[in-house]
């Protein structure tokens, strides 16, 4: 466990793990979903788009409350997970990953969907007619075209999970070393009137978030100018 000036850095570490894993899972699940939403003519498109956007609208406490019931020992999700793995889902790190995936879903799916929709499909079709395989087309034609959308999706998903509070307050249980993320740790320090520790953690989070965004916008700009040439 890292200790910096007597301050417990573990919540920060857990938060980073949570945000990274959430973005990874969301890319695997969200990219196919975004692709489908971008190109389908199914009558389920509109309902699916609405469901995907729900976490944007719902207050985190409402979302957290439903997730708590769903993931709890008596909930369908909780019981399924326990049957599969032998561990409870709520109040565990994996439970936080699941909750964060729901919470940050629109932040990954929507930029990807927009990027897929904005793609030049002629290039994709040309690649196919020239005999390129689907995987080769995807890697060489699709990904370069959507990379800015992809970057936006990764950053928004990561940042949104980093700042997650209300949902985790409901389903996390504030367990040190497992579900105590940095926002919860800050809240706890404020509750305990340790304003000094709260300020240190907050400053750490602020600085880290700023650096991440700075890097991302730097890369984005680099790509932007590259495209113009």
């Amino acid at each position: 466990m890292m200790e910096v000036t007597g301050l417990d850095m573990q919540p920060l570490w857990i938060t980073l793990q949570l945000a990274s894993l959430t973005v990874l899972v969301l890319l695997l699940v969200g990219a196919p979903l975004a692709w489908w939403l971008a190109f389908t003519r199914s009558r389920f498109k509109i309902p699916m788009e609405s469901i995907t956007a729900l976490p944007l609208v719902l207050p985190p406490t409402v979302l957290g409350f439903y997730l708590l019931i769903f993931m709890g020992a008596n909930g369908a999700g909780g019981q399924f997970w326990t049957a599969m793995t032998g561990h409870p889902l709520a109040f565990s790190f994996m439970g936080l990953v699941f909750a964060s995936c729901i919470y940050s879903l629109p932040f990954v799916v929507q930029p990807l969907q927009a990027a897929f929709e904005g793609m030049d499909r002629r290039a994709v079709e040309a690649a196919w007619t020239l005999g390129a395989s689907r995987s080769r087309t995807f890697i060489q034609i699709v990904i370069p075209q959507v990379r800015r959308g992809l970057l936006t999706a990764v950053v928004l998903g990561f940042a949104h999970t980093l700042g997650e509070f209300g949902v985790i307050l409901m389903v996390g249980g504030n367990i040190p070393g497992e579900t105590q993320v940095v926002s919860i740790a800050i809240y706890e320090q404020v509750e305990a009137l340790n304003y000094g520790a709260a300020q240190q953690l907050s400053a750490g989070l602020l600085l880290f978030s700023f650096i991440v965004l700075l890097l991302v916008y730097g890369v984005n700009r680099h790509w932007h100018t590259e495209l113009k040439i």
């Binding site: 894993l21 367990i175 070393g177």
Partner: protein, 303 residues
């Protein structure tokens, strides 16, 4: 068919790689939980008792070698989490309602419930330098534009504050001055930040703050006469999953021991005297923490 296959090939290597990362994460997690001692006690504590608990935990851990893992939150949220299967062994609430409900529903061990401390309501006025002859005079002072009170529907200290104002007969006069904190911690912040000139807070907050900061402003407060509000009984229960957790029982015994009680009072909480309230404190192994396991069951209350 060829197209289909290549699509799969595309998906599988990605899936494989990420699965490996997921599995790695999972393994790390398993190692973490495996490293936990059998004698670990997970304590869910109401925020207002967090600081005293941290100090008591150090003593308990040094004495017994057991490890306390502390999760703080509001009593209502912790209750909802316990009902939904949160892995807590001991619940230290800010009131008696939630522990009682847990005991009735069977989520807590019957007979394990006791009052570990009585909340002391104080009126805190760090900015008021003049001397006042009574609390009513402070409350109605022209210098006071805002009075901070915790939300009375959820926070026990808020309910006690409103009760006090009504008993003093000033509630209607000053109710327009009241600003509500979500809980007693936020109420404290309102006053500490100067947003409110005075506020009803917990004595324990003032004491734990003056322990860490030598700040004279903390010392301007009036302790409210206990006769003006119903007692704020902060109760503890042993939760169902800790039925066979000897360390958890030992911790509850420790809270009731002479050392535990001394620590609790030093942070500004009152104690229940024998006979006043039936809490199980009476005649339990107050001194001998080695009684763990028996003391709690013996004092099962009659319905």
């Amino acid at each position: 068919v060829a197209r289909r296959q290549s699509e799969f090939i595309l998906v599988i290597p990605m899936g494989g790689k990420s699965m490996r990362i997921v599995l790695c994460g999972w393994l790390i997690l398993c190692c973490w939980s495996g490293a936990a001692f059998a004698s670990q006690v997970n304590v869910a504590v109401a925020s207002n008792f967090l600081v005293p608990l941290q100090s008591i935990a150090k003593e308990f851990e040094a004495n017994t070698g057991h490890e306390l893992r502390i999760s703080a939150g509001s009593t209502g949220k912790l209750y909802a989490q316990i009902v939904n299967g949160a892995p807590f062994d001991v619940f230290l609430a800010a009131n008696s309602k939630e522990p009682q409900r847990l005991e009735v529903s069977g989520a807590a061990i019957a007979g394990s419930r006791f009052t570990y401390g009585l909340g002391q309501l104080v009126l805190w006025a760090p900015q008021l330098a003049e001397s006042y002859s009574s609390i009513v005079e402070v409350l109605t002072s022209e210098k006071v534009y805002r009075l901070a009170v915790a939300n009375p529907t959820t926070a026990p200290y808020g309910a006690a504050a409103i009760e006090t104002l009504k008993k003093l007969g000033v509630y209607d006069d000053i109710k327009n001055k009241i600003i509500r904190g979500e809980n007693v911690s936020q109420t404290y912040q309102y006053v500490a930040s100067g947003a409110a000139q005075i506020g009803f807070v917990a004595k324990s907050q003032i004491i734990s703050q003056s322990m860490s900061h030598e700040n004279a402003s903390h010392k301007t407060y009036w302790t409210i006469d206990g006769a003006l509000y119903s007692p704020i009984q902060q109760q503890a229960v042993l939760l169902k999953r800790a039925e066979n957790n000897a360390a958890a029982r030992q911790f509850l015994e420790f809270l009731q021991s002479r050392e535990g009680r001394a620590a609790i009072t030093s942070f500004g909480y009152g104690l229940v005297d024998s006979g006043l309230v039936n809490t199980g404190l009476v005649s339990t192994g107050l001194v001998n923490t080695g009684l763990a396991g028996n003391g709690l069951v013996d004092h099962e209350k009659k319905p």
